[in-house]
């Protein structure tokens, strides 16, 4: 028996040795061949070799594309017919998408989908870690870029979407058919009326005075709420722009040099404004705990009157839901008013849009880019408006949307918002011309979008380095903790910033050194 055990033990070790060696060798071979593929692919693009069309791809995206409950299959079928490529869609829960992506990439290369939709932060991170395919050449040589359909603004956005890759250089690893959009401050007309305010504020002083006046007039516990005091992803400050003003709590490039915005004097002012507003009862006492949906629901229920939220279509959604709650008593007036940025804010921030990325696991990235991804800019109706007959109809030159199962509201647009599109699109209707933004975009939404577009700028770009990967989470822990403690009045802004320096000063310096290298 013992001889047998020892023999089995020895044999298993030898087999283990062989298995380990074999596995590693194959991994190394795969990695090597992967990089060769990428290099070869780039070479192919530049030499304009015929690009093979993939027959099937895998796609992972969040709920910004038509939801499964709203007959997404009809859209999938229409898109497959339009592109000639069958896509296998992975649709994680929208609220848990960030965690899902973390787990997906945590499993490493080899199990990634061909195409994945990433937020700006994840886009920069995974590009730097080498998981995303460099589509710079493909974009430069693509038919869509050279077609003239993309606006100058769109071309500029693509340029701004370049992030640092594993080689330390800026490349295009993601692709978006729309601009990122940003947030506009909405004020309820009823609250303005109650406080007797007829002119919208244009400076911080006027704005804050109006907030206090509305609080008093309505007898409200607070006037503003949001999903936390600072956002979880760039541009971080878009839910409370009037309070942050020129402060930006992240590393950003200033006159060619990367600096830590959280350590600047502007941040001290921002923290003091937040603390004062919290003490004065202007901010929701539980703003730290709020989720986005909670804040929205409280806004619908008229618990507060000033809400900074996404421009464009969301203005219409907010209005509709406020009306549904029957809290609106002025049928002939606007429900909410879009506030142009006050002088101290200057311009709202246009975020970097979530990016459609092709991963390094894709066998034919050029084909996916050419025949599937870049086609999102040709304005297929199924991408703009979902599926004909299922989600919308077009009769006698009039578009009509059907009600969605998930919300009961009428459908408006698919993942390409007409208000955010980057150029003119061909259409199967309207004599082949662009169907225009009127479709699916009520006047109120267009107005809010115009307020934003007329006074917005691109959010600071994101750059990841090894030091950023190592330290970013700890630094953000310190920042969020300081913001919360100062706002709740536990410490002064000055002490908060001193604590920040003391706790993570070394990590910040390490990051800055790497960013400015």
């Amino acid at each position: 028996m013992k001889k047998l055990v020892s023999s089995v033990l020895a044999l298993s070790m030898v087999l283990g040795l062989a298995a380990c060696g074999g596995s590693d060798a194959s991994t190394a071979t795969t990695a090597a061949s992967g990089s060769n593929d990428t290099t070869a692919a780039a070479a192919e693009t530049t030499t304009e070799k015929a690009i093979e069309k993939p027959s099937k791809i895998t796609v992972t995206c969040d709920g910004t594309v038509v939801k499964e409950d709203d007959n997404a299959q009809a859209f999938y079928d229409a898109l497959a017919e339009a592109t000639g490529i069958e896509a296998e869609w992975e649709r994680p829960d929208h609220s848990g998408y960030k965690d899902y992506i973390g787990t997906l990439f945590g499993a490493g290369s080899g199990s990634l989908p061909d195409v994945v939709l990433l937020s700006s932060g994840n886009y920069a991170t995974y590009a730097q870690l080498g998981y995303l395919w460099d589509m710079t050449d493909a974009w430069e040589n693509s038919e869509v870029k050279n077609s003239g359909r993309v606006s100058d603004f769109g071309l500029e956005l693509f340029e701004n979407s370049k992030v640092v890759g594993p080689d330390g250089e800026y490349h295009l690893y993601g692709w978006s058919p729309v601009s990122g959009n940003g947030c506009v401050t909405y004020i309820k007309q009823s609250w303005l009326d109650a406080a007797g305010i007829s002119t919208l504020p244009t400076t911080w002083e006027e704005y804050y005075a109006d907030l206090l006046a509305m609080k008093e007039a309505k007898g409200a516990d607070y006037v503003i709420s949001a999903a936390g005091l600072v956002g979880g992803e760039a541009p971080y400050i878009n839910y409370l722009p009037e309070f942050y003003q020129d402060a930006y709590p992240e590393f950003y490039e200033k006159d060619g040099v990367w600096v830590d915005g959280f350590g600047e004097d502007a941040m001290k002012g921002a923290l003091e404004r937040l603390a004062k507003a919290y003490a004065d009862g202007v901010l929701d006492p539980q703003i730290i705990d709020r989720t986005t949906s909670e804040a929205r629901d409280l806004y619908y229920e008229d618990k507060f009157g000033v809400f900074t939220y996404w421009a464009g279509k969301w203005c219409n959604t907010l209005t509709t839901n406020i009306k549904k709650k029957a809290l609106y008593d002025g049928a002939d007036k606007e429900v909410i008013v879009s506030l142009p940025p006050i002088a101290e804010v200057g311009q709202y921030l246009n975020r970097i849009a979530p990016q459609w990325c092709i991963t390094v696991d894709a066998e034919n990235p050029e084909g996916i880019f050419e025949y599937w991804l870049s086609k999102q800019l040709d304005g297929r109706d199924c991408q703009l408006l979902w599926e004909y007959g299922t989600h919308y109809t077009y009769e006698n030159g009039v578009f009509a949307f059907t009600a969605l199962e998930s919300t009961g509201n009428s459908a408006t647009y698919n993942h390409i918002d007409g208000l955010l599109k980057l150029g003119e699109y061909a259409s199967d209707f309207n004599d082949g011309k662009d169907i225009g933004i009127d479709v699916g975009s009520p006047a109120i939404a267009q107005e809010a979008a115009n307020v934003f577009k007329s006074a917005s700028k691109m959010a600071p770009s994101i750059k990841m380095t090894d030091a950023m990967t190592d330290n970013s989470a700890a630094i953000w822990t310190a920042r969020k903790s300081v913001i919360a403690d100062v706002c709740l009045g536990k410490i002064s802004a000055e002490d908060g910033l001193a604590r920040y320096e003391q706790e993570v000063g070394d990590l910040v310096k390490e990051c800055l050194d790497s960013l400015n290298k």
């Binding site: 020892s6 033990l9 190394a28 990695a31 991170t125 516990d221 706790e503």
Partner: protein, 472 residues
């Protein structure tokens, strides 16, 4: 269990004489062969891991030996030495299993010498090419060889004493193999379990290797960088560690204490219908998701008019303005413990009630005759009967103190992170926000597992002392 050679009486643990016939008995020493085998296996596995690691590309290390030979390195027989080393270790294991310990020390020494030669060459190699650093395998091999050599010495010393030991009295004379053949179908039925555990429990453990890398598409070996960073660089690791211990242990004490009190009270209830109704009601919260529980308590503790607790406190003139319980470092932990007690106390009473129902009614009757009142009966009969169960529950749960996540995650926020952040929430934040630093969080996770492992061993030891058997 050992038996007396003279009368076949089962001998107590560590007995020197048979309690029945008084014959001097010999109790064999503990089987320490496992020490030598573990050491040899470790040294063997260390031989598979990189002795020297390219600090820029972790993939380089796997083919290190062939790389040296192909690169025209001065010691062309390097790979041969490596094979000799591995064979020596396999021989050690076989010899130990065959109980020829006196020879095992020779093969182990051969392996150690070969390693020494190899390592001296590798050291000079590293000096020539600074991109290479000492690999994980080197540490494992050194540790393994030390354990193996010590184990072999122990074996030799042990078996010198067992010359007159007669195995016939220690077990039946059937070999293990014969027993296995006889019970073969049980082993066949056991195969799915082994496969399941191997795939879902042990295979994922291979991921711990990423604790030694910067986790990128091609992981980069960084040695113990993450462990050093965790201990010395990151300002929030130790805070999370101590928070974990404090929150877990206090929660454990409070939950167990409350469960005991509730059990004693329930035990005193004579109306069965009422008792069962109460039991059902207090069990229910345990089946609620932590997300739902957090939502309920957030509503109760809301600072607006909707918050029942604050409204009560204000109306009772106990506070002048609403208290933000969930955002206050002074109150958060208290709220956390109360929420945990509310949710889990009922469930925790099951074991205690089962124990209480097993206490003989005669004891209570006798006490009543002796004039004991209810309090005295509880003090002198119920509580002593319950003591063993209380300690058992406490010990079993102590092993799980590091596994604190969901309950904290749903209740914490940025304002209370200094008192609420625990190891698991720390890992979550480091993994999924900021830089997605998987290598670092794997290292933290490994550390947490090691601490958990130590706690389990301590609990196992304590359990053996208290209950006479381990926790499994």
């Amino acid at each position: 269990m050992a038996q007396c050679k003279a009368c076949n009486t089962e001998l107590p643990k560590n007995a020197k004489l048979c309690p029945k016939c008084g014959t001097k008995v010999y109790v064999p020493p503990k089987n320490v062969r496992v020490l030598a085998i573990v050491g040899a296996v470790m040294a063997f596995l260390g031989g598979l891991l990189p002795f020297v690691q390219n600090s820029e590309n972790v993939a380089d290390a796997y083919s290190y030996m062939s790389y040296l030979n192909n690169d025209g390195y001065q010691y062309q027989n390097h790979q041969t030495l490596w094979y000799l080393y591995m064979v020596a270790l396999i021989a050690t294991i076989i010899i130990v299993v065959l109980k020829k310990e006196i020879f095992s020390i020779i093969t182990t020494a051969i392996a150690a010498i070969i390693f020494g030669i190899t390592f001296s060459q590798l050291t000079s190699f590293m000096n020539e090419d600074p991109v290479y650093t000492v690999g994980l395998g080197t540490y494992v091999v050194v540790l393994g060889l030390i354990i193996a050599v010590v184990g072999c010495f122990f074996d030799i010393l042990k078996f010198r004493k067992t010359v007159e030991y007669d195995t016939r009295y220690m077990t039946n004379n059937k070999s293990t193999w014969s027993k296995m053949v006889y019970h073969k179908w049980f082993y066949v039925m056991f195969i799915p379990v082994v496969v399941f555990i191997a795939i879902f429990n042990y295979w994922p453990m291979l991921g711990v290797r990423y604790a030694f890398t910067d986790y990128k598409r091609v992981p980069v070996y960084v040695g113990i960088k993450h462990f050093a960073g965790m201990v010395a660089k990151d300002p929030y690791f130790w805070r999370a560690f101590w928070n974990t211990l404090q929150l877990s242990v206090i929660k454990l004490v409070l939950n167990t204490g409350m469960a005991v009190i509730i059990s004693l009270l329930l035990h005193e209830i004579t109306n069965i219908w009422f008792k069962k109704t109460v039991q059902t009601i207090i069990y229910l919260p345990h089946f609620m998701s932590w997300v739902v529980v957090a939502s309920i308590f957030r509503m109760l503790l809301d600072t607006s008019d909707a918050g029942m607790i604050n409204t009560f406190l204000m109306n009772a003139n106990l506070v002048n303005e609403p208290v933000y319980f969930m955002g206050s470092v002074e109150h958060w932990r208290g709220v956390y413990y109360i929420v945990n007690i509310w949710r889990d106390t009922g469930w925790g009473t099951i074991l205690f009630l089962a124990t209480l129902s097993g206490i003989s009614p005669e004891l209570y009757e006798a006490a009543e005759i002796d004039g004991a009142n209810r309090f005295n009966k509880m003090r002198y009969i119920t509580l002593p009967a319950l003591a063993n169960t209380i300690i058992t529950v406490f010990i079993l749960n102590l092993a799980k103190v590091m596994n604190l996540f969901e309950s904290v995650f749903v209740l914490m926020n940025d304002a209370v992170i200094s008192v609420a952040d625990v190891i698991q929430t720390y890992i979550y934040r480091m993994s999924f926000s900021g830089g997605n630093n998987y290598g670092y969080t794997t290292a933290v996770g490994l550390f947490k597992s090691l601490v958990g492992c130590v706690l389990v061993l301590i609990c196992d030891y304590a359990s053996k002392k208290v209950r006479g058997r381990g926790i499994v």
